[in-house]
């Protein structure tokens, strides 16, 4: 009876640690920005951001500061830019694709923020963008902002992150 409870405790505390860790000056997991060209790894470094509540809340702050909210609207419902709250992804919904959209921009009007946003902040933005469509763990989802009430996005049925291959070019 003791072993599983200890294991459960260890699991919970690991999840707790990962969710709560405040990491300030850690180097970007994807080396310097200059090596943007190499293929984006999957898995490990992402949980550093996608399972970290602090990274998601920093992403929420930057989503407002860097004017992502201007085109994609505060709640991610879209405006000039496409909505980020529904499950539809024009350029792929995998974290790596969202990261490339931010860094390199997209032809139909998404500006390239690569040289202007430090890399770990880009990953924080990716974490927040995925939380907009309810793709993160429930205990990592950000709370309501201290602003006008927008309401949480409909929790996505499938928590699985979409695959990495991008959709065909939009019409």
């Amino acid at each position: 009876m003791r072993a599983p409870s200890l294991l459960l405790l260890a699991l919970l505390s690991a999840a707790g640690c990962r969710r709560e860790r405040r990491s300030f000056s850690e180097p970007s997991p994807l080396q310097a920005r200059v090596e943007r060209a190499e293929p984006l790894p999957s898995g490990e470094p992402l949980s550093h951001f996608l399972d970290n509540a602090w990274a998601v809340s920093e992403g929420a702050r930057l989503f407002g500061w860097y004017n992502c909210a201007g085109c994609h609207s505060l709640g991610g419902g879209g405006g000039m830019g496409p909505p980020l709250r529904d499950g539809a992804w024009r350029y792929g919904g995998a974290p790596a694709d969202v990261h490339r959209s931010i860094v390199e921009g997209r032809p139909n009007g998404m500006p390239a923020f690569g040289p202007r946003i430090p890399d770990y902040q880009t990953w924080q933005l990716v974490a927040y963008v995925l939380s907009l469509s309810g793709r993160l763990r429930l205990d990592v989802e950000p709370g309501r902002p201290e602003a006008i009430a927008i309401g949480k996005p409909p929790v996505m049925v499938s928590k699985k992150l979409p695959s990495a291959e991008p959709l065909p070019e939009a019409p």
Partner: protein
């Protein structure tokens, strides 16, 4: 051995009604705690009210007023069987206690039903704005009291019909009646605040 004064207690009864009974005091203190909580939440309602420019921000629809009136009516009606049940408890008349307890439990379940209708009739959610939060807060708090009351009533019904009914249970019946008065009493100021506001807006 010096002179031993003796206080004999052999003839004293084994139960007593009203403030002579410790359980009565226990529930009275619970009423103080929950009463303070209701009072503070009502103060929060009026504090928030003077900070918001349009109040109620999304007015409760007419449907809510009907639902609120229904709950209030059912709760007020449930006072009668409670009062009669207490009377029967004082006289130890188990048959009448059972009958009124069943009636009271039925009315309390009805109140729970109209409360669900109230929740569904509100045209706003708890996260719509400050007004919605405070109103849902008040309703949820009162529903907790109501829910606890319903569970206790159901337990009493089962106890009175199936279980071994003891003398001290008369006191418990009377105390449960007192708690039910508190549930109804606690609802009146809340209803007046929420629905009164919507009526005279």
């Amino acid at each position: 051995m010096s002179e031993r004064r003796r206080v004999t207690v052999r003839e004293l009864p084994s139960y007593a009604f009203g403030p002579r009974d410790p359980m009565w005091w226990g529930v009275a203190l619970l009423m103080c705690i929950e009463g303070t909580t209701i009072a503070l939440l009502l103060l929060m309602y009026f504090y928030t009210r003077q900070r918001v420019d349009v109040w109620p921000t999304t007015a409760p629809a007419r449907d809510s007023l009907y639902a609120g009136a229904a709950t209030t009516a059912v709760l007020l009606a449930s006072i009668v069987p409670t009062h009669l049940m207490n009377g029967a408890a004082y006289r130890g008349d188990l048959a009448r206690i059972r009958r009124f307890m069943v009636l009271m439990t039925a009315l309390s379940l009805a109140a729970l039903g109209t409360r669900i209708w109230e929740f569904r009739a509100l045209p706003f959610r708890w996260d719509t704005d400050a007004y919605g939060s405070v109103v849902w807060g008040l309703l949820t708090l009162q529903t907790t009291h109501l829910g606890l009351g319903v569970i206790e009533n159901l337990m009493f019904v089962v106890l009175l019909y199936r279980g071994p009914v003891e003398k001290k249970h008369l006191v418990d019946v009377e105390v449960n009646g007192m708690y039910w008065y508190f549930v109804v009493g606690g609802w009146l100021p809340i209803a007046a605040t929420i629905y009164g506001e919507a009526l005279f807006r």
